[in-house]
Symmetry: C2
Subunit: 331 residues, 2 copies
Amino acid sequence: MYTVASHAGVSIATVSRVLGGDPRVREGTVDRVLESARAVGYRLNGAARALATRRHDTIGVVFPNLSGPYYAGVILGLEETANALGQSVLIAGTHGRPGSDELVLELATKVDGMVLFGRTVPDDLVSELAGRGVPVVLLARPQAASAPTVRAENRRSAGALTGHLLGHGHERIAFVGDPGSSPDADERWTGYRDAHRAAGMGAPAEPDVCAFREADGRHAALRALRRAPAPTALLCASDEIAMGAYAAAAELGMSVPGEVAITGWDDIPVARFLSPSLTTVRQPLAELGTRAAALLHAAIEAGEGEGEGAPAEVATLATEIVIRGSCGCDA
Amino acid sequence: MYTVASHAGVSIATVSRVLGGDPRVREGTVDRVLESARAVGYRLNGAARALATRRHDTIGVVFPNLSGPYYAGVILGLEETANALGQSVLIAGTHGRPGSDELVLELATKVDGMVLFGRTVPDDLVSELAGRGVPVVLLARPQAASAPTVRAENRRSAGALTGHLLGHGHERIAFVGDPGSSPDADERWTGYRDAHRAAGMGAPAEPDVCAFREADGRHAALRALRRAPAPTALLCASDEIAMGAYAAAAELGMSVPGEVAITGWDDIPVARFLSPSLTTVRQPLAELGTRAAALLHAAIEAGEGEGEGAPAEVATLATEIVIRGSCGCDA
DNA sequence: TTGTAAGCGTTATCAT
DNA sequence: ATGATAACGCTTACAA
């Protein structure tokens, strides 16, 4: 910076003003400084700026891992919006490791705010972050520390989808997924039970637990379908699990949806290509990210004034049931 | 830090040493400082550290966009490895915008090194970054500025796949994809022509140009299949394009592979579920990322000594042709 | 082993 | 409109 300053015959203060876009600099000076900066190939140093301004122009995202279309889809929207708002995005996968609290706390010192997914961060850590004055937006999880929260609707759609299966005449529907793995899964499990209750029917007390992966879905589905009496429908907590269920049905020589109906969740691209095509629930992945980025940006800007005030908004985005062939409908 | 120092009855230098893991501090002092730090809830400030050490413990990745399984897959491996090596990952999508050079240059001041995908950064910018002493690793693109480079093999596999189609008796094979969009696509186009030449056959002088998306693939395939004489096989530059080709064939009432054979590239999850299942080429996505992260880390460590020296390694990862049904084989 | 003090490269306050 | 200069919060010789 001193180089540019002397090259342009001004002080570093002026260089800083020009490069920082401060309007109160004579136009001629601006041009001269800009020209000098170009000549020397000078760029402001990110770390020094961050230290002096207490602004990183960066937000952090904490998620479990990047496999599967879900997180990538959300982060796609997040990154795009953050960029448009002038912020870089620092990503951090917890990969189910134990020391992730430490990871999050460290990340917090490098960003202006963070987006926290599902179960990656326990409530008390959220509170601690809030206490430290780090703006936080929660994604796909219950609100905590009255932080702004973005989520997709689960319970009602799960209830409706279960009701749809019930309407097809199914009396034994198994829930395949792990309510303990994520708030989303938990809410779908709740909606599933809601529907049974509303129909005056009993539902299994326990889900067929499995992780959000095809292989796990296959195992769980196999287990369920070998039970006596076997379920005639499988409400899977994700499309990937549903794909495993298709495989399981095929192994047992059961036709879908004839002998067993199957539904998924997410509407990932393969859903339309499965045979029969998969009935599922679509959630607006990119928009979840977009909204989170926007809310975080707002919280950061507002943070200047340290508002606090009332518990922040919880935005619940609508999902859409996509009826195709695997539930027993014609489509 | 001063708070912790006085709380523990030491100087900030000692606090810094303890928190920075410097071994030459008496054990008792270490404990005392750690305890004080915990008591006050103190954490080192990222920006200040970065400024003082000239180390961000962060790497940057520049890619076109995050849609589709390709970039997410690579970044999955990248993030995991970088994390294991103690580095955060800053992501930046160019989204085909014009001002991306500026974006990259700015990012460069916030990271210790960067991974640059395909066509996101022109050769001269790569040189400039290298000139500024920013360690760089190139991904899925030709080497430039003799920077370490990681790529998947394309030309030979494309040639072999084309040869396979030729072996099925096809005499008019169209290439569907845009060689201009990425070095990968360009190399596949080259391999396609290699095979024709090797077989003593003429090949179209022009590809059926289209972007890496299903909708574009459909249009391009429609265009190709309506030509007279129509091609009897479509070598698509990606699986997503191939999916579009399936749709096009269906619209024209043409059977696959009977009336038109189709092949893809990437082996994305849907490939196995298409009907007929898609013959394609698998590339090790996560490993591309893993290797890039490792090479970058090495370059950063080496950078301490400012080696320069000989042009760095170009790692070409093997791909695997996955024969399934859409090429005309039984599978 | 620990402390003192000089940076690290900006921004921002106060003068001028 | 511009310039001095004191932060910003840490690391790291150099001393003790």
